[in-house]
Symmetry: C2
Subunit: 461 residues, 2 copies
């Protein structure tokens, strides 16, 4: 019996071969569309479903692409030709919230925001905060070790994951980690699986660390600088002053011009957005206001025109400037969001490198950065067309290649928080080197000896 | 040419076969002494030395036991019969301190306290804080993913490691991680190697995250409770009140009696130490005093007799009670420090289980806990004797076995921060299960196909 028949006979109507389902499963929020047609989409709602899919896949030697909400930005969960697309978006149970131990146990398909809504009832929250949190899953968050706006202060996803339940390639269950704050028994498989992009196993359940909601008010600052260099220097001065903002976002002049046009004068929150670079700073906690006042002084000393808000409404107007970035770009086409990260002290150099590549190639590269941690998102806007246009034009990859090399030369990385996926696998060796790449391939082979788990993601096939 | 001759001819006088050197390399601070006699002790002072040792070991099929300062508490770095003991204690250079990027690059043999002394000149610090910090190395810290007193607030070692340079079994160099706050390119080998106890490679250099020194005063509270259950409930009430102490240590009645006798009345800091259990709480940061006053109210409401100190001298007197624990026990023999960790909410049950095992077996088990993170150190005191007495008596292992099973039944772990080493390897399977154990052995084989790296540590041979 072939794989499809086995799936259908064991799993019934959670198995779809509807052309629309298969087509939708070939893409993600990066705009990448995988070639060919997947064998089937399986909408698992239990761990047993996931185990059955992996058993059948191993028996029939069929690849499996695991998917959550499909919000990935690197093409890492796109259904490839002949693969079983395994959706875990239907594993939506919050199994436990434990305030005493500051942890939650959730299934992989729980939406990040839904978890936070439930946690908030007990004055708790889950810190990993990808911009997609309203629509992305905890499992996807963990599979990519996702970042977000709050990492400099509150850490990346890995630091919030205590333990995992994972279905291995043969369908067996692996439990990793612990419910304790500390635990060093054996190798840290939890960390190895976090960020493994579906290539080592299928994460079905996670024990995550939660925190007490930060007490106190939030203060928000918007500041405009003449140049991106001045804005980057100002953000470094904030760090040097030992202020630790919850959010610190930098919008470069190219992006800011587009945002200003998109928002119009009424959306400018009283700031001169048409020129220069924009820095958004948000402080929280008991000392939020004092820190914000100190930050304003630092920003003004660094040449910024700064506006401090302590009420929710005007704070939201400042945040809206940052939030307008993506829609402002999307007016002009499909947005390919890159994701380089450099040491904070090299951020101004990275902005300069991007500006130089843009000027030389004639390709606009509007860029926003999580300035507190040196993670830049340079954007390429690709005019929309049919499916045939899903491919990114060669000249954009050439510019991206230069950008990646510049980031590496500055001691940085190809991807701060989106993952390697399909789109960045060709640069993997450039960053990690031959020795590491060879080891990583061997580690994958331990978990996935038949090479069935998300083949083509992270490593070139 | 055999391994010893090769070592001597390539490395000269950093190779010792002096009986005293070999004997000293067979033990660590756990008191464990490995059987037999090592082949040689090599005192590496450069990465090239380490590479040469590994190349020779691989060529000649000789095992290598890597060692830092020898402060381990699980027998994980004790020179075994016929092995090359590779000391990296001589790799002592601090290669970089970068305040802008909040990182330091250090060799493996740098003493934790020395790093912090150098960092303090720039108002920075390295948070991992094992009790041994004055004598233990950063490399040992990382190899065991060491904890300490500050983990509940400031995280474990893994969270402070950004990247590693590792000598692999064949002598080649592996670089992992990055200098950036975020980075998700490939698998997280940095985390996999952190806590790997010398079984995957030899850590020679680390890029570690450093922090701004916590501003503000420190406030210290000592409190005595009638029972350990009441003290554990009080520490839970502190957490429930959303107070986050830097330090929260709980001493049980058995240990407190010994400490009180050791310190005498003049060392009691005015507290009635002769009875009940002791809780030490230290707060830091800008809100230290306010948090401490809130904590005192919580502790008194929970039935404690509490004393708050805000000056250094009286704070030190309270801390001295905790510090007296180890010397108070050592008067009576060699101390075997166990290291179970349970979810915070189960800590009182774990203390009860230890008391029950102690009462039934007649073996005193004085216990101290890092109460903020549920990590208990039950102690066994073994009367001193000659080397023949280095072995832990069977009845103590039987009691320890019951204790480990109790911790696992409470959702805990065998070892919160000391590592598996040799002393706990026989319980590894009980905690992680067959599936994980088999995977972990295969992961080790990827890094160490010949089984030469610290064989017998973590996994039974």
């Amino acid at each position: 019996m072939n794989a499809l028949l086995r799936l259908q006979s064991e799993l019934g109507d959670i198995v779809s071969t509807a052309p629309l389902d298969l087509a939708a499963s070939r893409t993600d929020k990066s705009g990448w569309i995988a070639d060919g047609t997947p064998l089937a989409l399986v909408r698992a709602t239990t761990v047993a479903h996931v185990q059955a899919v992996l058993r059948i896949a191993t028996k029939c030697r069929v690849p499996v692409v695991t998917r959550g909400a499909g919000t990935g930005l690197s093409g890492g969960a796109c259904g490839t030709d002949g693969a079983i697309v395994l959706s875990v978006a239907g594993l939506t149970r919050i199994l436990e919230i434990n305030a005493d131990d500051e942890l939650a146990v959730v299934e992989a398909g729980v939406i990040n925001q839904h978890l936070n809504d439930e946690l908030a009832k007990q004055d708790l929250w889950f810190a990993p905060d990808p911009a997609s949190k309203a629509i992305s899953t905890v499992g996807g968050n963990i599979a990519t070790n996702a970042g977000g706006l709050l990492c400099a202060k509150y850490g990346v996803t890995r630091e919030a994951v205590l333990g995992l339940t994972v279905v291995l390639a043969d369908g067996s269950l692996l439990h990793t980690g612990h419910r304790t704050v500390k635990g060093v028994t054996g190798y840290d498989l939890t960390a190895l699986l976090t960020g493994s992009e579906g290539t080592l196993g299928v994460i079905v359940e996670a024990t995550v660390r939660v925190r007490a909601l930060t007490a106190g008010a939030v203060a928000t600052i918007g500041a405009v600088f003449d140049t991106v260099t001045a804005a980057a220097a100002a953000s470094a001065a904030i760090t040097a002053a030992r202020i630790r903002p919850a959010v610190m976002e930098l919008i470069d002049p190219v992006a800011l011009g587009l945002v200003a046009a998109y928002l119009g004068p009424e959306g400018s929150a009283g700031l001169p957005l048409g020129r220069g670079a924009f820095l958004l700073v948000q402080t929280d906690g008991p000392a939020a206001l004092a820190e914000a006042e100190q930050a304003v002084a630092v920003l003004r000393a660094a040449g910024g025109e700064a506006s401090l808000s302590t009420d929710a409404a005007s704070g939201d107007r400042l945040l809206a400037i940052r939030r307008a970035m993506h829609p402002a770009l999307e007016q002009f086409g499909r947005v390919l969001i890159e994701d380089v990260s450099v040491p904070r002290s090299r951020m101004a150099e990275m902005f300069a490198a991007i500006a130089e590549i843009s000027a030389r190639t004639g390709i606009p590269i509007p860029t926003v950065a999580h300035a507190g941690d040196g993670n830049l998102h340079p954007n390429f806007v690709i005019p929309r067309g049919g499916e045939a246009d899903a491919a990114v034009p060669d000249e954009i990859w050439a510019a991206a290649d230069e950008m990646f090399q510049a980031a590496l030369a500055l001691g940085g990385t190809l991807t701060g928080e989106h993952g390697v996926g399909v789109l960045k696998r060709r640069w993997l060796r450039d960053e990690i080197g031959d020795t590491s790449l060879e080891l990583q391939r061997q580690l994958k082979a331990v978990f996935d000896p038949l090479g069935l788990l998300n083949p083509g993601t992270m490593f070139a096939a």
